[in-house]
Symmetry: C2
Subunit: 512 residues, 2 copies
Amino acid sequence: MRTRSWWGWGWTEEALPDDECVALAALLPGLADRPLPVPVIDLKDPRVRAPSALRCRVSAEPADRAGHTYGKAYRDVMRALRGDLAAAPDLVAYPASEDDVVAVLDWAASSGVAVVPYGAGSSVVGGVEYRGTDHRGVVSLDMSTMDKVVEVDRVSRAALIQAGTLGPALEDQLRPHGLTLRHFPQSFEFSTLGGWLATRSGGHYATLYTHIDDLVESMRVVTGAGISESWRLPGSGAGPSPDRLFLGSEGALGIITSAWMRLQDRVVHRASASFHFGSFAAGLEAVRAIAQSGLYPTNCRLLDPGEAGLAGLGDRTVLVLGVESAHVPVEGVLASLRTIAGDHGGTPIPSRDAAADTWRAAFLRMPYVRDAMARMGAIVETFETACTWDRAESLYHAVRADLASTVESVTGSPTIVNCRLTHVYPDGPAPYFTVIAVGRPGSEVAMWDEIKLAAMETLHRHRATVTHHHAVGRDHRPGYDRQRPEPFALALRAAKSVLDPHGILNPGVLID
Amino acid sequence: MRTRSWWGWGWTEEALPDDECVALAALLPGLADRPLPVPVIDLKDPRVRAPSALRCRVSAEPADRAGHTYGKAYRDVMRALRGDLAAAPDLVAYPASEDDVVAVLDWAASSGVAVVPYGAGSSVVGGVEYRGTDHRGVVSLDMSTMDKVVEVDRVSRAALIQAGTLGPALEDQLRPHGLTLRHFPQSFEFSTLGGWLATRSGGHYATLYTHIDDLVESMRVVTGAGISESWRLPGSGAGPSPDRLFLGSEGALGIITSAWMRLQDRVVHRASASFHFGSFAAGLEAVRAIAQSGLYPTNCRLLDPGEAGLAGLGDRTVLVLGVESAHVPVEGVLASLRTIAGDHGGTPIPSRDAAADTWRAAFLRMPYVRDAMARMGAIVETFETACTWDRAESLYHAVRADLASTVESVTGSPTIVNCRLTHVYPDGPAPYFTVIAVGRPGSEVAMWDEIKLAAMETLHRHRATVTHHHAVGRDHRPGYDRQRPEPFALALRAAKSVLDPHGILNPGVLID
């Protein structure tokens, strides 16, 4: 029986043991020689109590409250490790039905209590952490009890799924029907359908179906003005899409309780190939040609030399390509992709699939490694973006230069800045950056904040989005507020004022 | 030099001559023996005058005003043919720049004048016709002077295009760059980019990229609260999409002035095939398998026997398949599609491409034929929808039965109800219906309204969308108002109240 970590990523039992933490310190000179200890939970008493009329389980247990205080950003983990749990919710509610959700919202609205929706807490943008002062208390609305696939329509390949369903449970329930959602974000094991929808999560596909948005047939959302339910439709042009207003609304406009999702047959045919490139710029050109070829590879991941090195793939630019189909053989498509990669200077990496497998193993372990690095005194920031191809290479160089110089001025030490492309579009890539630096004990969070601001500034200067799939939450507000067109901000605020008239829904995310 | 028809579709010179109109009467017993004459334009004087401070051309000419009175729905054409131009705008403004648009809106807001944006007037849902009584006057804002491709980004394959650019002019300006938007709605020749965006138009592709929505990188919109400009991004997860609020907003939230659009390389490889099926139901099963195969044919049009007959393809269910690529040969994909069609009982139609060509010629001529039928006293209604596969066949039968019975009770005569699929998705098709009946002279519009209401009622009962790509306008309001989730209606109304504080933007479409 495994337990969820209250302070860090995933399972407590999967966290790196102390000796492995110490071994990681070799990565960067200046890190600590022993890991930060995990503190004992110490919380103030809850300020509010749930009325007995609420039928769902409501917990005031310290372990529950501590585990629902933060998401999983570096600054969240570090604050938890430092014992800072001042932001802990007063209560954690576990609705078992939509009626329970309505009841919690009604009580919260009448009591001036803020409601922070919580899927599985994998937010890395401060999306599940209340930071305000205007409310009498805070309840974390943990949706994990609503975890069922309610109905499957095999003919239309769609299913009605409750919002609190975790990735693995969702796939487990679809498997007997021969179907899959095929949405596999890095957080898959510890994130829910509702969280994916509320944050416009990015999944499995490198091309074509990148965000969860396109997989939605209809949604049910509990708002302060009633329940919004869109029709199950394969496509529609009846006014602005209702679903697109709630997709990415991060709990500020309502609580998503279920959705009809578009499914797929399970994959039968798979093929992959990997290539080395002489430079990241050369790799970018190859990936652009692939993204514009109409071949839509499932996987198309370009790693810069540093990123490849961290994943154990040597220190050259690596491109990992994958093609999948449930219906037809894919070797022909892979052959066309090979040709494009070769034409752009790619050298095949002989051992087929090796790079993909090595990468995948490293990929899934990364959040645990990040936590171990944090315990060793490293500052680790990951951020991701998207921009058009015409500015991709200059953005890459600018981020590396700006972050290196910022980190040096903040920490006085050298830094690692790596990059990979997670998704690619015909008109541009989605680069993902990792920054590792040496923190000053006790100042890590303030230093991280400075690095984050610098990253947002560089993205803004290149008109690259503040987030491609991590969402806005609270951490990205400085960048998002400048990026969002002002008339749209007015419209969003007006929408919130009617859907959340008491201002209790996840206050602080997206908009004030 | 051709002239635009003020009363009907397209070019005056392309309208069917009287003898061809008479020949069409053979289609249905009971039609007239000579066509309705085209009346002389007779208008009341304009109620408002444009201030001299407006720098753009503003016309009060009767021919301009008559030509901007209606869209091109049957009820529009019939009212024009009956000389009913009571809804004519007082003025037609032709802004040459975004500043001109702002100036017109400012003047209209301060004068209580309604502004009806006008691309090229192809709306078949009352989208460009003011029907209110609350304004001192009405100005039709004709965007056709803003018709330039302003900038091309060859690397990212995108272009900044002004909203008033007509389909052919847009493609003409992209061709020298080797690029194409590849958005070809039936109205292509007489509709504009801005109109496509404002109405979520459906284009060339039967699968994958169906609506214009997915081709948008960023948009500029003049609202009553300033100009909204989103960033050029290949993808983003930064909050709810600003563009998706304006896509489908039909001029009610602002005037779209330009957009960065995603382009494609020009097609090099093409292949197509056609099949007969024993029944429409069998054809539906084949199309479902194709739509769920991940092969994404460019063209996948299923015609029922009546529709095939009208297009000169015999009186059996016909499936027309097409595959296109700018980069790789497509014979392999077509072979896979042939196999699926064959496995589902499709019999190849020997003469390759013949069905596709015959269909295309009939398709482009249809609006002119519709006008000729109207002149011969026929009532012609076309409507389109989308639903999930589990209800597709029952919807098909219900629409045919309900419409036949409605038309018989309304007209006392038999009717023709045909169907084709225009777009198909993995989770459902988009069927398009044509209804032809004999009208009672002078009552055609009232009869059409009854048929339209009956159609919306049948769609509603099957939870099929009131429109897949024709938009809502004013004619679809009864269906749309019931389909739209009420909390979303509140949000949309709140958004309109801040973006259109004086209530002058296309009053009556979408929401009150």
